[in-house]
Amino acid sequence: MSILELQDVHVSYGNIEAVKGISLTVDEGEIVTLIGGNGAGKTTTLKTISGVRRAAPGTIVFDEERIDHMPSHEIVKRGVCQAPEGRRIFPRMSVRENLDMGAYSQKGTPPTEDYERVFTLFPVLRDRLSQAGGTLSGGEQQMLAIGRALMARPRLLLLDEPSMGLAPMFVEKIFSIIREINEQGTTILLVEQNAQMALQTASRGYVIESGEIVLEDRAAKLLTDERVKKAYLGEA
C-alpha cells in the first residue's frame, strides 16, 4: 500500500510555476526515484513534501493523513525526513550536534542504537564526532547528511541528489548504502540527475521535465526506454 501520495501538486515561486501538477505514489518499503534535468522541479517537489514549500493547489498524503498544510516540523514528527540537496550540513556545529539535529523531533537525547546504526553505515563519522560539520569533505558531508536524516528514524527518507559532486567511486558506495538503508526497512524517495545509478537502485521511477511527470514505469523498464536513454543516459 502507498505510504506517500502526491495528487496534482502545483508549486509556484511568485508568478513562475515550478511544479505543474505532479502526481506520484511511493509504496511502503520500496525505493522510488524521481529523475530529471536541471530545473525540472525535482528539488521543489521534495521541498514541498517536507513542507518548506507550499503546494497550491494539490494534496499530499502521508500514511493516510494529509500533510500538505502542515508546518515542516509536524511533517518530520510523522516520519518524513530529508537529506537536502547540497547536503546543507550545519557548518558551525560538530558532527555529533548535526546528528542530534536530525533527532530534534524526538525530545530527549537520542538512544545509542540510533547513533550506532549511523556509525555502522558510515564508520568515518565516528572518528569525526567533535569536528565541525563545515570542515568535512564533500563525501563525508553527504554521509553526515544521510546519517542526520536517519537519526529522525524516518519511515520515509527523502534523498535529494545524494551523488551530486561526488567522485565516481563514492557514488557507487552511496548508492549501495541507500540500498542497505532500504533493506533495513526505510522507504526511500530518491531524486537524482544520475539516472543510471538511480534507476539501477530503485524499483520504480518517474521522469520529470519542466515541472511535469512525463514518464513513469518500473525502473528496469525505464532503463531500456528509448527516450530515457536518449535524454538521461547519454546513449544515442
Binding site: 517536507s50 515542516s72 514528527k77 525526513c81 550545519f90 539535529m101 530534534y104
Partner: protein, 308 residues
C-alpha cells in the same frame, strides 16, 4: 598626559565596566535576534524600558506597605522586570515582525515597523506614567567594598558586573547545550534545513526574542537600581549603545556582545573623562561609525554559534 588617562583612569575604568555590563546585557538581545533573523530589532530599547518600568512598579508595590527596602528587593524586582522584558519582546515579534515575515516583506519594512513599534511603546508609557523621571526605590545602598588605589568600588557596581557575567554565562550554556539552544543555532545557520530537521522555526524565534527580552529586562532593573530613575525614553540611549556594543563585538556572537559591551563602556567613559561628559554619546557613536568602517564584522565576527 591628560589626567583622564592617569589619575582619573581607574575611576573611569570602573564606571565603564559598570555601564558596559548593562550594554552587554542589552546587546545580547540584539545579537540573538540578529543571529536568527538577520534583523536588527530596533525596538529592543523598549524591551529594556519595559523591564525597568516593571521593576519600578514591583518595588513600589512592595514598599507601598512601608516595608524597608534592602538588597533582597532587588532580586525580587528582577523577576517581574525580566518577565516584562520577555513579554514585550515576544509581543514585538508577534505583532510587529511576524505579519511581515509571513509576507516575506522587504528588509526596509521590518526596520520601519520596528521604529514604529518603538515609538508606539514609549509613547504608551509616556501616556501612562507621564514625562517626569520616576525615582526607583533604593534597594542597595551604595557601600564601597573594595578600594583599588584611589578608586572605591561600590557594591552596586559589583552586583551589576557579576549579574551580567552570570546571565551571559547562563545564556551561553543554554544556547550551547539545550535542545532549544541547538534549535536557535540551527536556525541561525540554515533555517530551511533546520525546518527539514523538525525544528519549529516560529517557536525558535519566539524563544530567541524571549531570551533577549529576559536579559534586557534584567538590565532595565539593574539600570534603575544604579541610576535611580526611569521613564518612557530611558531605553533610547542605552539601546543604541548596546547596539553599538553588539556590532563592536560582532553581531550575532554571544561572547562578542559581552566583550563589545565592556569595551564600549570603558572607551566612552575614558573618552568622556578626556573631552567632557556631554560628549559621551558622541564618542559612542563615533566608535560605532569607526567599527563599521574598519571592521564591519566586529572584533569576533558574526554568527550565533561560531564560538558558542
Amino acid at each position: 598626559m591628560p589626567d583622564c588617562l592617569t589619575t582619573q583612569l581607574p575611576l573611569r575604568l570602573v564606571g565603564g565596566l559598570t555601564s558596559g555590563s548593562i550594554y552587554a546585557l542589552i546587546a545580547l538581545g540584539y545579537t540573538l535576534v540578529y543571529g536568527v533573523l538577520q534583523l536588527i530589532n530596533f525596538a529592543h530599547s523598549e524591551v529594556f524600558m519595559g523591564g525597568s518600568l516593571a521593576g519600578l512598579l514591583a518595588l513600589e508595590a512592595l514598599t507601598h506597605h512601608g516595608a524597608q527596602t534592602n538588597a533582597i528587593f532587588l532580586f525580587v524586582a528582577l523577576i517581574p522586570g525580566m518577565l516584562a522584558g520577555g513579554v514585550v519582546a515576544i509581543a514585538l515579534e508577534r505583532f510587529a515582525y511576524r505579519p511581515l515575515r509571513r509576507r516575506g516583506a522587504a528588509r526596509l519594512s521590518y526596520l520601519i515597523s520596528a521604529i514604529g513599534a518603538s515609538l508606539l511603546l514609549s509613547n504608551i508609557v509616556l501616556l501612562w506614567r507621564g514625562r517626569n523621571f520616576e525615582n526607583f526605590p533604593a534597594t542597595v545602598a551604595p557601600v564601597p567594598i573594595l578600594t583599588l588605589g584611589n578608586v572605591q568600588i561600590y557594591n552596586r557596581q559589583i552586583i551589576i558586573v557579576v549579574a551580567m557575567l552570570i546571565m551571559t554565562a547562563g545564556l551561553d550554556i543554554f544556547v550551547r547545550t539545550s535542545r532549544a539552544g541547538k534549535g536557535i543555532r540551527a536556525v541561525a545557520q540554515d533555517p530551511e534545513t533546520a525546518g527539514m530537521m523538525g525544528v519549529d522555526i516560529n517557536r525558535v524565534i519566539t524563544v530567541t526574542f524571549l531570551l533577549g527580552g529576559l536579559l534586557a529586562g534584567a538590565a532595565g532593573v539593574l539600570y534603575g537600581m544604579f541610576f535611580g530613575v526611569t521613564r518612557f525614553d530611558v531605553g533610547f540611549i542605552p539601546g543604541i549603545k548596546a547596539f553599538t556594543a553588539a556590532v563592536l563585538g560582532g553581531i550575532g556572537n554571544i561572547r562578542g556582545a559581552l566583550v563589545g559591551g565592556l569595551t564600549l563602556g570603558v572607551v566612552e567613559n575614558v573618552g568622556a573623562g578626556c573631552c567632557g561628559n556631554q560628549w559621551k554619546d558622541v564618542i559612542a557613536f563615533l566608535v560605532l561609525v569607526g567599527v563599521l568602517m574598519f571592521r564591519p564584522t566586529g572584533l569576533f565576527g558574526e554568527g550565533v554559534g561560531a564560538k558558542a
